[in-house]
């Protein structure tokens, strides 16, 4: 096969010059990944505006860029880029400036370790991942929550009471839900005997959503919390504290923060698919055998995304004390139960 010869040549060269290979592949990977996640997130924003419109019996954007409103995001981006740059009086300037940058760095860190699907060549799946780490599952889950630090920086530095409350809420929520989320990842790793996302996917002959349904539910809820979406968007509750931690942000700084949330949403749903929904596993599709894992993978991700948007359109938000209540009193014990279950079942099958 043509493809396999290329792969062989490249791997031979890689064996000769391992350092240069690593550098080159890292740079190329970073470029590709930043393109992929940004375009992906733009698609997510578009999807959300249209699908939310559908849920609410509206059209959503349909004037700019054909009747599908495809260029709406471009118009928004141009406008945000050309807005005045302002830092409020009394703000903690460096922290204020760095908050959106840290948010973007976070998403890049996460994206580096996540496999974006796979290609099926000669019956073998080659995952598309830049940094194939041994502990990538745990790493990704931990790195996702660095976003909360950006939230806290943004809220704390703005010199605004709403932002401050938003930041505190963000931290309280993160602490309450990071633990059960981590325990769920451990449970998955127990079953898969690995913390590597690729290996976790490969070991899922039965989706872990069915093998440990409790863990799946807890992880989904914790994920929605981590992404800060309704019903867990207390840190930017629009009707209570104006716009939460982004109250004082405008223009492109706000644009960055806003966009990172959508990138995170994309990455989060990919993580959910990888951990619980069998990743790119699925039967081969005849004509496009090479792409068939990609098709399955994207389909699953799309379904998760639509689910997240649907939730946003149909639920009201929790109060912050109820959120932490739920996190500590229900999610954590239940996730431990799930861990025990995973250990038992894992031992039984292994």
């Amino acid at each position: 096969m043509y493809l396999s010869t290329i792969i062989e040549t490249v791997s031979a060269w890689a064996a000769q010059e391992p350092k240069i290979y690593a550098l080159a592949i890292g740079l190329i990977g970073a470029a590709i990944i930043s393109a992929v996640i940004n375009i992906g997130a733009m698609a997510v924003v578009w999807l959300e505006r249209k699908f939310l419109g559908d849920i609410q019996a509206r059209f959503g954007p349909n004037r700019v860029g054909s009747r599908w409103g495809l260029l709406q995001l471009g118009a928004d981006a141009i406008k945000l880029f050309t807005k005045e740059d302002s830092i409020p009086r009394g703000a903690d300037k460096p922290v204020y400036v760095w908050a959106p940058i840290i948010a973007s760095i976070t998403t890049m860190l996460v994206a580096a370790a996540i496999p974006f699907g796979a290609l099926r060549i000669d019956g073998k799946d080659y995952p598309l991942v830049v940094a194939n780490m041994d502990i990538s599952a745990f790493y990704v889950e931990a790195a996702l929550s660095i976003m909360t630090i950006a939230v806290f920086m943004a809220g704390f530095s703005s010199n605004n009471k709403y932002s401050m409350l938003g930041a505190f809420r963000g931290i309280a929520r993160m602490i309450a839900y990071e633990v059960p989320m981590g325990v769920c990842v451990i449970a998955v790793a127990l079953m898969a005997h690995s913390l590597n996302l690729v290996e976790i996917v490969e070991s899922q002959t039965l989706w872990y959503a069915f093998a440990q349904p409790l863990g799946f539910i807890i992880f989904t809820i914790a994920l929605v919390t981590d992404l800060g979406r309704i019903p867990f968007d207390q840190s930017e509750a629009e009707e209570e504290i104006i716009a939460g931690y982004t109250t004082e942000y405008g223009g492109i700084r706000w644009g960055l923060l806003y966009f990172q949330e959508y990138i995170n949403m994309l990455l989060g749903s990919i993580l959910l698919v990888l951990l619980f929904l069998g990743g790119w596993n699925g039967p081969s599709i005849p004509v496009i055998t090479v792409l068939s894992p990609m098709v399955w993978f994207l389909m699953k991700v799309l379904i998760v995304l639509i689910f997240l948007i649907w939730v946003r359109g149909s639920l009201v938000r929790f109060r912050i004390d109820q959120v932490t209540d739920l996190g500590w009193k229900w999610m954590l014990p239940l996730s431990l139960v799930n861990l025990a279950w995973a250990a038992f079942v894992g031992l039984y099958f292994a």
Binding site: A57, K161, I230, L315, V316, R317, F318, R319, I320
Partner: protein
């Protein structure tokens, strides 16, 4: 009446029994508090409904009219007048007897300059600080010297490059004697900052522009973490002085202003004003007109409740919460129906003295019935939805509880009062139009929390649909307008008329001096009472519940400020 006379010989200077529901008495200012206490304790007048000031400039007197009534024990409304000389006006305060007398007396103080002895916090309520001291509702008020606009408003560039907008105080003009001296009192900001006791507390301003508010008002919360320790409310950001403007318009022109008082209930506001003037004129509208008025009032109630509930839901979820959007869709149907009758979407100016402006359009009943039927199904669906949503019930149950006793004491009316197990509805208490002929039930709930208030509203939509359907069946043919002279000049006198607004008890008190223009119009709005009751309700709540409680009251700022 005779009971008062026998209990306080010599205290009652004048009295008039208008009907079995209205009693006008003029009492000695010195014995006002005693008589009120007697009425409250012995005669069940437990509802302080409002107070109005009247400037009788020809007699060199101020009148303060206290409106007292009862929560269901009987249906008598006592309008108790006190006359005080104009040069040093002072009346004993009733705040010791009725908690909710507070705002009404503050308003009379800032507008007329009538001092209330024993009032705990005689600060301006609606007026901006710079207008206090001019007493704008007095008859000899010549208009405010317009020094706000133009050169007094300046934009200052500070040393750090930020532009600040300021309206300079007119201290120099006061020194020069052009403007009168202003009374001394601590400003709103100073009052609330005096309450900060420790470092962990801070004041969070919600407003005047804030996503929770249906119109601008300032809700300041003294919070510690997420807990509200004390709430301060400042209204008057859209105070337009409607009552004063109406004194300078003819009776007919006045209807336009009642629309803009509460734009969600303009029909009922029209109704209250026209009803009061009809009492002055001594006419009753023909039966068909009465039915049309009832139909419109109930339609207006439906759309107001839908918008109120919808807006409340956006406070819980974001504006992306879909049921809110569905409610607006349903509301548009109702608005179309109203538009087909009146020609306007929200400000109708439809009710006339002794009738209505025009008849129902042809085929209205056929058009209305399917819409009402669909509305009923949809409303039941909403009730189901909200009832079965676990997050919603967790958020709303037991939040902002008003016990029946508290609700009565705070003087709220309408859905919040009925949610606190008090069947107090003007359509029953003070029946007008054809309401006595119609079959409807007064919706009540036991709980008194935010959830119950929303439930009451949704169920009232069902009742309103029921009323409209009866009206469509029963409506007779006939004229829709009484014959009236072109220039409306009622005999000198006064009338008080109450209707059930979508938000509660709406009363309008009109004084006529025999000319083309009303001498004084006083509006007793329901939201005024809600807003007054809001700060005590919010104490001890979470910040997130503040929006829930404020939203469940369904406030309409425009009516508070007038």
């Amino acid at each position: 009446m005779s009971a008062i006379q026998s209990a306080f010989p010599g205290a009652v200077l004048e009295s008039r029994v208008e009907s079995d529901r209205r009693l006008w008495i003029t009492v000695d200012p010195k014995r006002l508090v005693e008589i009120t206490q007697f009425l409250r304790d012995k005669k069940d007048f437990d509802h302080y409904s409002g107070a109005a000031g009247v400037d009788r400039i020809n007699e060199n007197l101020f009148e303060v009219v206290e409106i007292l009534t009862s929560h269901g024990a009987h249906q008598v409304v006592v309008l108790m007048k006190v006359k005080v000389p104009r040069d040093k006006p002072s009346v004993r305060s009733l705040t010791g007897l009725y908690w909710n007398a507070n705002w009404y007396e503050r308003e009379i103080w800032e507008m007329f300059g009538i001092n209330f002895e024993g009032h705990p916090e005689l600060y301006p309520l609606l007026l901006p600080d710079e207008l206090v001291g001019y007493w704008p509702w007095r008859k000899d008020f010549k208009g405010y010297p317009d020094t706000t606009t133009g050169e007094r408003a300046i934009e200052q560039v500070g040393p750090d490059g930020y532009t600040e907008f300021k309206i300079m105080p007119h201290t120099e003009l006061i020194k020069a004697g052009v403007l009168p001296e202003r009374p001394k009192y601590p400003t709103f900001r100073e009052r609330e900052e005096a309450e900060i006791k420790s470092d962990s507390e801070m004041i969070m301003h919600m407003g005047p522009q804030h996503a929770i508010v249906p119109g601008p008002f300032l809700l300041d919360l003294l919070i510690e973490g997420e807990r509200v320790k004390k709430a301060f409310l400042d209204v008057g950001y859209i105070h337009k002085g409607i009552e004063k403007i109406m004194e300078n318009r003819t009776y007919l022109q006045g209807i336009v202003y009642t629309d803009r008082m509460c734009y969600l209930a303009s029909i009922t506001n029209n109704e209250a004003y026209c009803g009061a003037v009809e009492r002055l004129l001594g006419i009753t509208p023909p039966e068909r007109a009465q039915y049309i008025r009832v139909i419109l009032a109930e339609l207006s109630r439906i759309q107001s409740h839908l918008l109120g509930t919808g807006e409340f839901l956006t406070l819980l979820g974001a504006a992306t919460y879909s049921p809110f959007q569905y409610m607006i869709i349903d509301r548009e149907d109702i608005v179309y129906l109203m538009e087909s009758i009146t020609g306007a979407r929200i400000t109708h100016t439809f009710v006339r003295f002794g009738g209505v402006r025009n008849d129902l359009p042809d085929g209205f009943a056929d058009k209305a019935r399917p819409i009402l039927k669909r509305m009923r199904e949809r409303t039941e669906e909403y009730m189901d939805l909200l009832h079965s949503d676990p997050i919603y019930t967790r958020r709303m149950r037991g939040i902002g509880v008003l016990s029946p006793g508290d609700a009565r004491r705070l003087g709220v009316s309408g859905p919040p009062l009925r949610a606190s197990d008090t069947p107090y509805d003007m359509r029953r208490e003070d029946p007008i139009l054809v309401y006595p002929d119609l079959d409807f039930k007064v919706v009540t709930r036991k709980a008194g929390d935010a959830e119950a208030r929303v439930e009451v509203r949704l169920e009232e939509i069902l009742e309103s649909i029921h009323i409209i359907e009866q009206c469509l069946d029963q409506i007779p043919d006939g004229p829709i307008q009484e014959k009236l002279p072109k220039k409306i000049k009622p005999e000198p006198g006064e009338a008080y008329y109450r209707v059930e607004d979508p938000r509660g008890e709406m009363g309008i008190y009109v004084v006529s001096d025999g000319s083309e223009k009303p001498y004084r119009v006083k509006v007793r709005g329901p939201v005024y009472a809600y807003m007054q009751a809001l700060p005590p309700l919010l104490e001890g709540a979470y910040v997130a519940d503040v929006v829930a409680i404020a939203g469940s009251m369904d406030a309409c700022t425009s009516e508070v400020d007038r």
